[in-house]
């Protein structure tokens, strides 16, 4: 019956459809990761909480709350037509720059980086997480400007886009949060590449990156402890409380987990607090020890599934803006997860980026779900 009224049908499809048009598999995967994360955080923190006389389930509950807020943000951003979002992008970008400036002036220092804004009731906010979204949207906007018969972005667009990314990168460098800088750098490269910009831009970015890194090391812009952390993974058996300690203990935890793990709440390495930061940066070690190869590989595969959906969404996006947003999100999640898990497994430097969806931390959780929201948004608009 509806078929006979194309207009009405279209109307109806549009109104009834946002639930139907959602990529449910993507949502389920992200939700599954978040729930696994909640359990791992619970296991990692319960003992310490009891020792401190605090609520044993405190972190677990907060993590669940973060998921709820994250999913809420996801729904919000996915309902918002991204074509309208473009209009707000400059403001979003501006706000994130202000946030990054604020954090440099009044931020709290955690693990050597001035990256957090303390909020009342013990909450903290990490502006660099939101800056990632602002950069994605800003670059996508600039690179997908309507052009005269040209398919590829003009050099001036690329230059602007790099400028849009460059300012927050510089501010994050000053915190300094190298891990996030590396994630954003990969993201920028991915977006520029997929935008169809000329190959020399890609070469330029690569060369520029190498030069900046070299200068940073040579001029002492990087502090010794940062260098030590970065290179610790090349010396996996560094002993004691050196830079290698965390990764070594994490690797012992993961390696001793074996095929099926020790079971949640039963990992001696985890429960004995041998792996510091194991609710945030090293949460993956908990999965490795307590859930074993089956659980730990499961997390990687769930992330892989999300990436597959993201790339698929990028491929099918209705316009370049959508494609670039999806691409940005895919590269972001991919490299951040690779950096984090790689550092747990001892194959990438210790950089202190959280594992999307899994690590404890509100901002990271919100940003991850906002990213899912962006993907859903692009996905839904592509079906119209």
């Amino acid at each position: 019956m509806t078929l006979t009224y194309p207009t009405a049908g279209t109307q109806r499809r549009r109104s009834q459809s946002w639930l139907a048009k959602i990529d449910w598999s993507l949502v389920v995967a992200a939700l599954a990761l978040s729930i696994i994360g909640a359990l791992l955080v619970w296991s990692a923190t319960k003992g310490t909480q009891i020792e401190k006389g605090l609520d044993p389930d405190g972190f677990f509950k907060k993590h669940l709350l973060n998921i709820v807020i994250g999913v809420g943000l996801c729904i919000l951003i996915s309902r918002f037509d991204y074509r309208l979002l473009r209009a707000y992008t400059p403001f979003l970008w501006g706000a994130s720059i202000l946030g990054l400036l604020f954090v440099l002036v009044k931020g709290s220092t955690i693990n050597g980086a001035k990256a957090w804004i303390s909020l009342p009731a013990g909450f903290t906010l990490q502006p660099s997480e939101f800056a990632k979204i602002a950069i994605i949207l800003g670059m996508a906007m600039l690179l997908s400007e309507k052009r005269d018969a040209e398919n590829e972005p003009r050099d001036i667009d690329v230059a602007y886009a790099l400028g849009v990314a460059g300012v927050p990168i510089a501010l994050i460098m000053l915190q300094p949060d190298l891990g996030t800088v590396m994630v954003i750098a990969c993201m920028v490269f991915g977006i520029v590449a997929v935008s169809g910009a000329k190959a020399r831009w890609l070469t330029g970015i690569l060369v520029g990156g190498v030069v900046v890194a070299y200068v940073a090391i040579q001029t002492g812009l990087l502090k010794d402890y940062q260098l030590a952390r970065l290179t610790a993974f090349t010396n996996p058996d560094a002993n004691g409380r050196t830079s290698g300690f965390n990764t070594q203990q994490a690797r012992i935890a993961i390696g001793s987990g074996g095929l099926f793990g020790t079971g949640l709440f039963h990992g001696p390495q985890t429960q004995g607090h041998f792996v510091p930061e194991n609710q945030t940066d090293f949460v993956y070690s908990v999965a490795g020890e307590e859930l074993g190869f089956v659980g730990a590989a499961g997390i990687v595969l769930l992330l892989g599934f999300i990436l597959w959906r993201a790339v698929r969404i990028a491929l099918r996006a209705s316009d370049l803006f959508g494609r670039l947003v999806a691409t940005g999100v895919a590269v972001w999640i991919a490299f951040q997860a690779f950096e984090n898990i790689g550092m747990n497994l001892g194959i990438t430097p210790v950089t202190g980026v959280p594992l999307p969806f899994v690590s404890y931390g509100g901002t990271s959780m919100f940003a991850s779900w906002l990213a899912i929201g962006l993907l859903l948004n692009v996905h839904m608009r592509a079906q119209e």
Partner: protein
């Protein structure tokens, strides 16, 4: 959207897929391929081991009387991890503790240091145990202090007081037996390293032999010889810990296996008699003067051996000077050790019975006589026994120049004629070819070796000396070893000597030795025949040789231990007598010699007659040989009295030696007589086996019974009624200070063998019962104890 964009997105997709695969691959490597490596590392991380020492096995005499047991000592221990958690790293607590113990802060600090490069002290003062084990810092503290520490927990966090098992020398009947029992000392790093290397080389070490740091191991005597079996296997508690090293749980526990009990052939009462008589002989020697002078004998040391001739069982054995073995308990102090090893103390650690080497003198004539009889010399003789004899231009005197005229072999032995042996020895030497020997028979030398001289008897005690037979082989060996040195001295002389005359004399001797040192001269053979010159023997070798003569020619390996029994009373090993040789002497000749030696005590002309006057020789004939050794380098003569009895059906051999003690007959013989009197229950001239120090008049044949709880059963053991139980109860109520809790004492011979009562027990449990089982007679050692030499 451009083709380029599509293409690049596809490439990106592949790139992201490769990232995922990289992670899964690495994960597979860590968790599946190398899981074992990491599991081992995790276990090293997470577990710490606390060792509960095993109760060391008791050493019992042949009736089951404990010679060495364990007692409990109140020990203060400090938990270093607990100190580390305190704000000032425990400085205040240690200061308080040091003050309470009356020692300096640093001495406690040094005790708490882990042994190694940075430690201020060496083991056993620094700590070489596990870092998770509380470190004992003081032993044998007073009950009051222990109570203070346990009650004022807030003043002494990390400090605890408890009972720990240490060695207790039971001394039944006042027995010392230090050289038999030995002592314990902490295992050292070298030994641990050797073991580590052996394990690394794939060698298997049974758990009871495995050394662990902090182990106390036998360092001398039976404690050392039977260390493996006495030590037991410690219990290990596997604790799981977290990163801060706080204990989070117990992951496993093995109970300690107590060490086995060692049953010896020693009879405690007989041992006590032997020790007392040895000491009497020393005193007797010192009261006597050298003939013709007013110089008293020094009688610097001595030994006595009582052996069962039928099986080699050592029933008693003593050496003088001795020491109190309990100085080693809880670690010997520097002062004590230097006192024990000082020259003035005359090496009390050395057992004269098994390690001392002395000139055998006339006791050696059992060898010469055996050799003579087996080589055609008749029993009747007669043999000339002039006051002196000149052989090869050298004049050999009879002992103290006596000249009884021609004698039979029997009488020659009884009067201890030396000159008759000079002639016999010279004859042997000539028959062997004299200065140009061709295939010499060396009858005396070989007979000496058959009697077991010149080699270790194989007794189950460490560091036995082998002695030497000063015959042709020894002379050759010494020549080979020293020839070059002699010849150098023959040329260079002794320029370092200040005494020019002595230097000239020694140079001449060196020159002589350089040229002729390898020639076995007649004088060497003469000296050998009368047990003088280069021959040296241990008292134990003499006892073994006399036992062989007594028992019809069998050399038994002397045995101190008789069997090993588990702490629950089960037989582990029964140690069987072991034959190590057979004398090449006919039964008739042995019987003749036994009879001949019995005349030493029974005939008026016998050298032992006076000492055994009034002894019921008709019932218990005693075969004996006196010996008065002329030691070189200006030492006074060595007194020997070597015996066995009954001469017609021998059972016991008793040998006594007093170094620089004068004649055998005068110094040693009266003491040996006393020992026989004790063995046979002789009062005056009445023999009453019921009065024997040996239960039932003879050594027992069975092993003693040990109850399942580890208590040995032996005659005369204290019953419950004879124990003083002390006042327990009223004042021992919980909450009371506990100071009123009376010390429970028990009678002197009570062993304390129950494993459960000798382990480390929580002090409060004992205090609650008002019972801290320390003996009243227990000697508390002052911290700066001076040497404690032993005398009965």
């Amino acid at each position: 959207m451009s083709e380029r964009s599509n293409l690049r997105l596809a490439v990106l997709g592949v790139l992201l897929l490769s990232l995922v695969l990289t992670l899964v691959g690495r994960l597979f490597f860590l968790q599946v391929v190398s899981a074992e490596v990491y599991t081992a590392k995790a276990s090293a991380n997470q577990f710490r081991y606390v060792v509960t020492p095993a109760t060391r096995g008791l050493i019992l005499d042949q009736l089951g009387r404990p010679l060495v047991a364990n007692r409990t000592s109140l020990v203060v221990s400090v938990d270093r991890t607990s100190l580390a958690d305190q704000k000032d790293k425990g400085a205040a607590v240690l200061h308080r503790l040091a003050k309470a113990l009356g020692v300096s802060d640093t001495s406690i600090k040094f005790r708490l240091e882990t042994c190694g490069k940075d430690a201020h002290e060496k083991p056993p003062i620094c700590w070489n145990g596990s870092p998770y084990q509380p470190v004992p810092v003081a032993k044998d503290i007073t009950q009051d202090l222990a109570l203070t520490i346990m009650e004022k927990r807030s003043d002494y966090p990390g400090v605890s007081a408890g009972l720990e098992a240490v060695r207790e020398y039971e001394s039944p009947f006042g027995v010392n037996a230090a050289h038999l029992l030995g002592y314990l000392g902490p295992v050292n790093d070298t030994e641990l390293q050797v073991q580590k290397d052996a394990l690394a080389a794939g060698q298997k070490i049974p758990p009871e032999s495995l050394l662990r740091s902090r182990d106390l191991i036998g360092r001398a005597g039976l404690e050392s010889q039977y260390d493996d079996t006495l030590r037991g296997v410690p219990g290990v508690k596997k604790l799981s810990v977290d990163l801060s090293m706080a204990v989070t749980g117990t992951a496993g526990e093995t109970q300690p296996t107590p060490g086995n009990y060692l049953v010896t052939n020693i009879d405690a009462r007989l041992q006590a008699v032997a020790e007392k008589q040895l000491y009497e002989a020393i005193l007797r020697g010192r009261s006597r003067t050298e003939r013709g002078t007013s110089t008293h004998y020094k009688a610097d040391s001595g030994a006595v051996v009582v052996m069962d001739v039928t099986n080699g069982h050592v029933l008693a054995m003593a050496s003088w000077p001795s020491y109190d073995p309990s100085v080693w308990v809880g670690g010997i102090s520097k002062t004590e050790y230097s006192a024990l090893t000082a020259t003035a103390a005359n090496t009390p650690l050395l057992s004269r019975a098994t390690q001392g080497q002395f000139v055998p003198a006339s006791t050696f004539k059992i060898v010469s006589a055996s050799a003579a009889l087996q080589n055609g010399y008749t029993q009747a003789g007669p043999y000339p026994c002039p006051g002196s004899l000149t052989i090869a231009g050298r004049k050999f005197n009879n002992f103290e120049g006596e000249a009884p005229g021609p004698v039979s072999l029997t009488k020659g032995l009884a009067v201890s004629c030396d000159t008759m042996w000079y002639q016999i020895a010279a004859d042997f030497w000539v028959k062997d070819g004299g200065l140009k020997p061709t295939a010499p028979k060396d009858a005396i030398e070989n007979m000496a070796k058959s009697y077991g001289y010149g080699k270790k008897t194989g007794i189950d005690l460490p560091s036995e000396s082998s002695g030497r037979v000063g015959g042709r082989a020894f002379k050759k060996a010494r020549y080979d070893a020293l020839h070059d040195a002699w010849c150098r001295r023959a040329v260079n002389g002794y320029p370092e000597y200040t005494d020019k005359a002595r230097a000239a004399r020694d140079k001449a001797i060196a020159s002589d030795n350089c040229k002729y040192g390898d020639i076995y001269q007649v004088g060497d053979e003469v000296n050998l025949a009368i047990g003088q010159g280069d021959t040296a023997v241990t008292p134990l070798q003499v006892a073994t040789a006399y036992s062989a003569l007594a028992n019809g020619g069998t050399i038994w390996q002397p045995q101190v231990a008789r069997g090993i029994v588990s702490s629950s009373g089960k037989l582990v090993t029964a140690i069987k007598p072991l034959k190590t040789g057979k004398l090449p002497v006919s039964a008739a000749n042995l019987a003749f010699l036994r009879n001949a030696f019995s005349q030493v005590t029974s005939e008026t002309y016998g050298t032992g007659y006076n000492a055994f006057k009034g002894f019921p020789l008709a019932q218990i004939p005693v075969a004996a040989k006196t010996g008065t050794g002329q030691a070189s380098n200006n030492q006074q003569s060595t007194s020997w009295f070597s015996t066995f009895a009954p001469a017609n059906k021998p059972k016991y051999a008793v040998v006594m030696m007093v170094s620089q003690g004068g004649t055998g007959a005068g110094t040693s013989a009266p003491s040996v007589r006393k020992i026989y009197e004790a063995i046979y229950g002789i009062t005056g001239s009445t023999v009453d086996p019921t009065k024997s120090v040996l239960l039932g008049g003879s050594p027992v044949t069975k092993l003693p019974t040990i109850k399942a709880d580890g208590t040995p059963i032996y005659p005369g053991m204290p019953t419950a009624a004879t124990r003083v139980t002390g006042a327990v109860g009223a004042t021992g109520a919980p909450g009371a200070t506990g100071k009123a809790g009376a010390q429970v004492t028990s009678d002197a011979a009570t062993p304390n063998p129950s494993p459960s009562s000798t382990g480390f027990i929580a002090l409060p449990v004992l205090l609650a019962g008002g019972l801290v089982g320390r003996r009243r007679r227990h000697r508390r050692r002052p911290s700066d104890a001076v040497i404690r030499l032993w005398s009965p």
